[in-house]
Every structure is written in structure tokens, then in C-alpha cells.
Symmetry: D2
Subunit: 306 residues, 4 copies
């Protein structure tokens, strides 16, 4: 069979889909679907209940809530607020908060200089942090009477810091002792249709090998000693994945139909508006720009070339 | 046959390669290859000489110089300067400058906010413009005694300006009357191996349908009345293209070998480090970041959710 | 007398204030004040009616509407929309539009890489341009049934382009033939209390010597042949100005009171939260960052320093 | 006397200068000056030796090395490398490293979104971090055979994180146990001539009240338990400071000379090319840009205003 174990997705929803064609129920995995008609959000809750389920799904035991909203990629502030409220509700449920006053640490993972990996840093930029205000003036200083202590950091990636992100977060957690961590990360999906249209909330934290930037060490309840909720949005598909997937579909249909027609049909709708580009395009583009500028600067300086 | 006419590349070199497997010589097209050993640059000059050649190659009559330098993507300032010198030499040749003092207008095409399309704006940022200095103080004000008058603009794309780029450039050309235009643009290639490693210099200017951002109207000698030299570097491959190409290769080998093995071999080396992402990822990522920040801001404000 | 003619402000309102202490009415200048209570906006309309008025005010004959809104600097989306509506109303009045369908060209002046000069480029970024859509699909393609054709450009400054901004704008105007130009620019004020809290709308266009970036040639009805409305917000005060102004006040009070006390009182409220920094701080800070990084890179590489 | 205790400078050199006019030697403070002719660098070493010296100088006991290089603000890569080498030498001396292999943590203080405060984040961006590579592959993986383990973080400021920077650094230090910390910060000077032309290296770490961003808690050997070396470059002068200083000079000369002449002479050379702007100009400019864009969007949409 096709080397499908190497196809990676960060969405539990997509791991589950691998088995759907076979009509197989996976032991140790439960799936529940809800459609929120008014907001046009499809919510799928995948629970991995046993170690067997975890092995088959290649994800740790835990709860994975996926919210698919086709209009999420459209700029519409009101709709965006509607989804934000929904996300807030699910987070509240997953966090099972019982303390009156809590301290949260939000960690924005990823590299702010690589566009599709910059989701976490962008979230931290717009977050309303309050811990320093409440510590200084008390919680009545906040507009809302009962705000919590919110702190946040976008620590950068290992190539920028020389440190595992888990080391940095662990150090900070030990120092400021939050009640829980919310970690935001850009994800890799398998299906281009899900890019920028899907939010996954997982109570399993950040696990090795996940994310656009590929975390090497986990940021989890095991490593930190406090609950870690991960919020992710898929922003890329590995180029290998889309080729492989399309080919699998091709091979399935190839006997019965004209093969070139089949290829064209498989490609067209699916890949419209997508491009393939190297992971380091952001820094490369600046360097190449410098190089051409240098060429022109040389060209236009007569005494060098004449 | 496979719908290959719809596969687009901005590199004349790659148009020519389509016919190589067939060992066909194309009438009206000449090809010349030089290898610059010391600098490890492969230089291919494709000349489209006749209208027939233009039709087969789907590019206008003219000269297309392609410089392939595998190390171009590696950050190495000295090597970069070496290539810059080479580019300057070829530009000088293509421009066939005979005026003692000339005025150049460099146009940086593309959208500075979409990373793989931002090559042109980056070049303009680092260009040494001199026209205003020479007009004010004379050319002896320059460090180099005989510098030319260089001007530059990065006009933005139609979705930002509401104007065809060609309209903007035409207006400026009529006002400042340069001797020629050099237009810089990010290109789409067909082969991922060429991304960020190839420079194309063409004396045909910018033609409709070319570039990452897909120009709708040309910027050419015909439209401006002065020579237009285009410098381009491929920064993306259409996602559809890589799927289609790999499948074509697959279908060619499928009879003789194990098909899954074939797929794995076709994919692996080629796509390593590449990702697929939507064309509007840069602005989308900021909007999605806002949305999640909003969700967390809602969550952490007790009087809204309690 | 103190060399006050060299004190520059781009606000007609502040030119007028120079004469207030003297209780002088300036011949050829009319002033009208309105307070918009609900929105807390003070609107002052200065009309320079004669060449004598222009000479005294050091600004061309024309109408200058200044809207002062102390809360403008506070982030509050609703309040911001309120001011935006007010600005739109005044623009409509100043433009005296009588054509059913018009074409507008918005020009965002200034250098996007120098923060206090970047107002114009930011406006262009968020503007809804429509000319290309209406030309392609007709005006019924717009959500609003009767939208106008809007085009925009942020041409950069002369040090980036080698061209006078007026040359670029003139070329584009001749090509696309808009009915009028709206030019946005960051201004220099004399009073720090006005920074980021004041909008000036003038029907005189952009004049030589004005703006943070100091335009050398005008962009006016005279140079373009169509009306040019300038919208400006003061973002800086020349450092020399604040020193000089405070000293003038000091010298006025020095005879009657304790001089050190006087100095302290003059300085305190006025300058709180302000800093003095060189005009080129944005690019300098990057270069200095590189230099220190280089020092550390040298330090940490043992075989160079051991 | 003038309320001079409230005039703040982060440069020990400038604290010392306050006493020079009086020809006073300060007990507990030693000063040594060296001029590096070839590189045109003036190096002043101020040592605060006693608590009395610390009180007079308003800075902790320790060594402050100031390197003044007038050409530092000029873009010249070779000269920059020359200064970088000099800085590396002094750092080596101050660090008194005796361990063969050490681990360094570089902390880039300041807010990357406020230009004059962004020095620290820029340094971290260009630093060659190695800790993760050496931990994974051993130190022989580095090009230089004996490189040290370098890690780095730009934690952001309290308004972004809700945490004291000292809390974050302390947590990370306890987790990764570096041998020392090098903290980079943008400073406030008293003399505009020093902006972007002066580097201060201090073995006293970062102290409360210092820096453009005003640290509230120290990052020092006392708080972290390991040596903390601070590297700073002054990028701003408080607006109040320049007014006050100029006025002091004015009052000193006012009896003997024409006072208006005196003012003009005091101001001119000193403040050329400087501007005064609010501390939050970077975010304000974006918001004001949005507001004007909104006004124009309203204006151009006929069915709202007609």
C-alpha cells in the first residue's frame, strides 16, 4: 500500500477521515458532530479514549474539537466576532475552570518572520494582557469588574533562540505560576480546503512533530505540571501531501475512466489559488532583492563597467 | 493528450524543455548554453526569432537569458556579489547602451505584502537612486564620477491602486522620459528546483498573464515607446502544476514498475521543504490572529461569560 | 525680536495663533469657529482671502479646515468612525462635487519606513479602491449601487524614487484623468498638544516646504490642472520649535517670577510622553542592531578572540 | 538651583559631566579616557567605586565603558565591523571569562513596535545562536571549532506580556542555567549629539528606571545570581531634557549678551534633524491611517452621502 503513514496532518479530524472510506469504526475513538446552522459552523469532537485509539490516530489520548467555518477566510468583522464567541465557549468548557480568580499564560508559538507560521505571534500582539495591571492596581482597575490575570509571550522558534520553546515556557511557568497555558500554533493540514477555515482546540497541548514549525519537544501537562490547551489553525499543506493524495485518487479511478480527463478533474477545483513555495521564502526574498539591487547598482555606476 | 497548454511557466527555458523529451528542434527558436565554471552558473540563452517560434513557445519574439545558480539560495555575500556582477554584464549587453549619459527607470512590480510577490519592491528599496541628486548638483556630486540618472518606483498592484500598473508606468515615463525601463518581477516556474535559484533577463518586457501577480496589460516597448528589460526570479510554482507534472511522470512509468514505489520516488526529493498555501496568506494570517485574540479577550473577561 | 519667521508649522490654525497675543486682526484672513459638542470636536475654518493674508500667514490663498478632537489619539473604534463621518462631510463640502460619476485619485505622501511620515502610505493601504472593478464589471458590481471610481498610489519619497513626487503624480493624472486628487500627508505642528489630535483639510493642495518630509515642489491645481485637496495630521514638532517656544515664554515671564520655578512650570505638562529622536531613526536602529549583533557574533566565536 | 535631579540620563558619562563645569572631583568615582585614533573612537571608563559615588552619580557601583564614535551613525560596513571588534574586546574584558566552554543568554530588551525602543529585538534577530546546534551535534558541528553555546530571547515589554521582563528572564535562566546574561537596551541620553553615536557597556546589568522603555525591576547579578552585562545605545532624549538644558545655558549667558541672539545660537546646531514625537507614535500612526481611510471610504460610497 501507499506509504500513507508518512502523510502528516495536525488535525485529528483528518486522521479520522483516513478510515472513513473503509467504513471502519476505530476502537477507542469516539466522534460527535454538531452543525451550528445560524453561524454555519460544523463542529466535530474527536475523543481519543485509549492507547489503542492513540496509536491508530497517531495523536495522544484527549479531546480534539474542530470548528469548520467556510466563511472564516472572508473578511467580515461581525462573522469573525460570532466565531470568536463560539471559540470562547468551547475553551471555557475544555478548561473546566472552577477557580474564581485565575492566571492564564498564553503562548504564541511560531516564527513571526515566516508568514504561514506567524499565527501565534499575531494572537499575542492583539491580546489584552492584564496581569501587570491587576498586580499593581487590583482587579477593580479593569473596566470589567472581574477580569482575570492574563499574561502572554511569543518566544520565537529554536533557530532564533537556541532554546527549545518548551524550556522557555517551563522557566516562565515556574516563575509566574499560571493556572493553565493556552498555546496557539499554525498547523499543517492534509486538505487544502481546510486552510484558514478550521480551528482545532485540543486539551492535549503541543506535541512533538506537530505544527508548521515542527516542535521537537512537547508543551503538555506532563512537562509543565498544569493544563495546556492548544488552539491551532491549519495554514499550510505539505507539497508532498497534495501530490500524493491526488495520485491516490487518480489510481483509484484510473481503470474506469479516461486518465487525462481524470487528472484534470482532480486538480482543478481543489488547488485554485494555491501556490507552492519554499519554507524559507520570507528571508530568501529579501536576500534575492538585495542581490538584484546590487546588480543594478553595479550596472548604473559607469566607472566599474565601461 | 494531457491538457498541457494550460501549464504555465514564466521561464522561456522551461517552455523549451517541454519539447526536449521529443528531441524536436523548434523552428524559429535558437538555444545556446554556457557554463561559467568558477561561479557555477549555467547560462542559457533562448532566442525566439519568428512568430512561429513565439506561438510554439507561448512567449513573444525576443531574447531570454536564464542564469541558473544552485547556490543562489544560500546566504553568502561574496557569491551573491559574483552573481550580481554577472547579471550587470548581461544587462549591459542586452541594453546595448550607446548614450554617454542615460536615465533609467527601474520598476519594482508586485505586492509588497504578499511575500513571494515582493521581489520587485525589495529591489527598489535597496537601489541607489541618483536622478534627483544629479539634477540638483550635477553628476560630479556622485562618488563615482560618471554615474547615470537612476529613478525607481514600486507602484503596487491593481488591487491596491485601482489602476493597471502599465497605466502608472506609462504616465511616469511620459513625464520623466527615461531612456529605458528595467522591470523586476517575481515569476512562476514549473519546476520547484528552480525556485529562488534562477534569474531570467528578457528584452521583451512584461507581458500579459506573466508573473506571480498575473499582469493584465503588458509593459513593453510597444506600450511605452522605449526599451523594457524584464528581470525575474521564480519564487512559486502553481500547486496544480506540481501535481500535474508528477502525475504525468507517474503515468509514463506506471506500466513497468510498482506504482506506489513509483509515487514515493517521484515525490520525495523534489518537494522537500516546500509548502502549499493560499495566495492571500499574508493578510489572512493577520485577520485570523485577530479573531483568536478576540476569542481569548472574550474568554478572559468574566462579566461576559460567567 | 526673536527669529520667529523661521518657526514653521503646517497648520494654518497655528499661523493664526501667532497673532492672537497681539489681539491683531489680520487683513485678508477670516476665522470661524464651531464646537461640535456631542463628538467633542472643535472645528476652525481659516480662510486666506487675499495675497496680503497669504503673505502674513505664509500659506497660499484658500480654505483651511482644522478639526481638533482631543480623544482622537485614544483607541476607540466608534469614536473614530464618528470623526471619519465628520471628515467625509467636510470633504464633500470642499470638493463641491456636481458630477454624478467621478474618478478620484488618492495620493498617500510620505516615507513608509519613517514612522511619523508614514500616514499617507497607511491610508492608501486601507482604502477601498474600485476603479479597476468598475471599469471591468460596471458600477453595479459594487456592493453599494452608486460607488465612484477610486484609485490610489503611495509613490514614496524623492530619496527612494529619484523623482519629485509631483512628477510622478502629474504623469499618472495625465494618464488616468481623475476629476480631483486627494493628497494625504503627515504634518509638522508647533504645539505638541496638537500631535495626532488634529486634522487639517485644505483646498490648496500640497505646497513646497510643507509636511514632515518637506516637499520641494507643489502638488496643486496649478501644477495638475485639477482640484487638489490636502488632508494632513500633525505627527511631529521640530525639536528646535519646542525649545524656542518655551524660551520665548520664559523670557516673557522672567522678570516677574523666580526663573527656575518658571522653567519647571513651562516644561512639565507640555512635554510629558514626548521624545526627541533623529529623523532617520528607523533605518539607523536596524543598522546599529546589526553592529551589536556582529560584535556578539565575534565575541562568541572563540577562534577569532582567544 | 534648577531642578536638575529630575533630569535623567542612562549614560554614566553624562552623569559625570554634570560636575565638570564645577571642576569638582567626585569622591568614589574614577574616570579614565582613551582615544583610539585610527578608528576615531573616544573611550571613557567611569568606575563608581563606593556607595557615596553611587549616590552622587545616581547609578549603582560598577564599571561603565562608553565608546563614542561620531561616524557610527553613517552607513559604512567596514567601519561598523571595526567598532564591532572593539566592542567584542571590551566585552571580553568585562566578562573575565575563565571557563573553556560557556553558555551565554542574550536578552534583547524593548518593544519591537516602537522604533527607538527596538534595538534589543533587532540584535537578537541577527545574532548567531548556537546552543541548540551544539546540544544536538556537539561543538564540532560549528564552522568555528570552538564556538560557545549562545541562546537569545526578545521577551517583549510588560504592556505586551503582563509580566516583568525580569520575571521572564529569571525563569529562563533557572531553566537553562547560562554562565552570564548580556542584556541589550535602547537608552535615553541627555545630549542629542550622542544619539546613535555612543555605546555603553556596564557590568551592573539593567536597573530600575533605566532605558527608553523604563524598566521597573532590575535584571542584575543580585536578581539572577549570575553576571549581567548591559550593552546600550542612546536613541532618544526626553523632550523636557533638551528644553531644560538649553534654558540653563541661556540663563547662564543671558546677562552678558543679546538674549535672542543667544537663543538662536544655542538651538541651531544642536537640534538639526531632530524631531519631537509621542512615545506611542508607531501604533498611533496606524490607527490614524485607518481613520482617514474610513473617512474616504465613506465619502466615496454614494448611497451613504448623497
Amino acid at each position: 500500500m501507499l506509504d500513507s503513514y508518512s502523510i502528516h496532518t495536525d488535525l485529528a479530524l483528518e486522521d479520522k477521515e483516513r478510515f472513513e472510506s473503509d467504513n471502519v469504526e476505530i476502537s477507542g475513538v469516539s466522534v460527535e458532530e454538531v452543525y451550528h446552522k445560524e453561524k454555519e459552523i460544523q463542529i466535530t469532537t474527536v475523543k481519543i479514549l485509549t492507547e489503542n485509539g492513540a496509536k491508530v490516530m497517531r495523536k495522544p489520548v484527549g479531546t480534539y474539537i474542530t470548528m469548520e467555518a467556510p466563511n472564516m477566510a472572508v473578511p467580515d468583522e461581525e462573522y469573525q466576532t460570532g466565531i470568536a464567541e463560539e471559540v470562547a465557549e468551547y475553551l471555557k468548557e475544555v478548561l473546566k475552570l472552577d477557580k474564581e480568580d485565575y492566571t492564564a499564560l498564553v503562548v504564541g508559538l511560531g516564527n513571526r518572520d515566516v508568514t504561514p507560521d506567524a499565527l501565534g505571534p499575531h494572537v499575542v500582539e492583539e491580546l489584552r494582557v492584564t496581569r501587570h495591571i491587576i498586580r499593581e492596581y487590583g482587579k477593580y482597575a479593569m473596566d470589567e469588574k472581574e477580569a482575570h490575570m492574563v499574561s502572554a509571550i511569543a518566544p520565537g522558534v529554536m533557530a532564533q533562540t537556541g532554546m527549545e520553546t518548551s524550556e522557555i515556557v517551563k522557566g516562565i511557568v515556574e516563575e509566574i505560576k499560571p493556572d493553565f497555558v493556552i498555546a496557539i500554533d499554525a498547523l499543517a493540514a492534509r486538505n487544502t480546503k481546510r486552510l484558514n477555515r478550521t480551528i482545532q482546540i485540543a486539551d492535549t497541548g503541543i506535541n512533538p512533530g506537530s505544527g508548521v514549525g515542527n516542535h521537537r519537544e512537547g508543551i503538555t501537562k506532563e512537562t509543565l505540571g498544569i493544563p495546556v490547551i492548544a488552539i491551532g489553525i491549519p495554514t499550510v499543506v505539505d507539497a508532498a501531501t497534495i501530490v500524493r493524495d491526488t495520485m491516490e485518487n487518480l489510481l483509484a479511478t484510473i481503470e474506469t475512466s479516461d486518465k487525462y480527463e481524470a487528472i484534470n478533474q482532480l486538480i482543478a477545483p481543489h488547488l485554485y489559488g494555491m501556490f507552492v513555495t519554499p519554507k524559507d521564502i520570507d528571508e530568501t526574498i529579501e536576500r534575492l532583492g538585495s542581490m538584484i539591487a546590487e546588480a543594478l547598482n553595479i550596472l548604473f555606476t559607469k566607472d566599474i563597467y565601461c
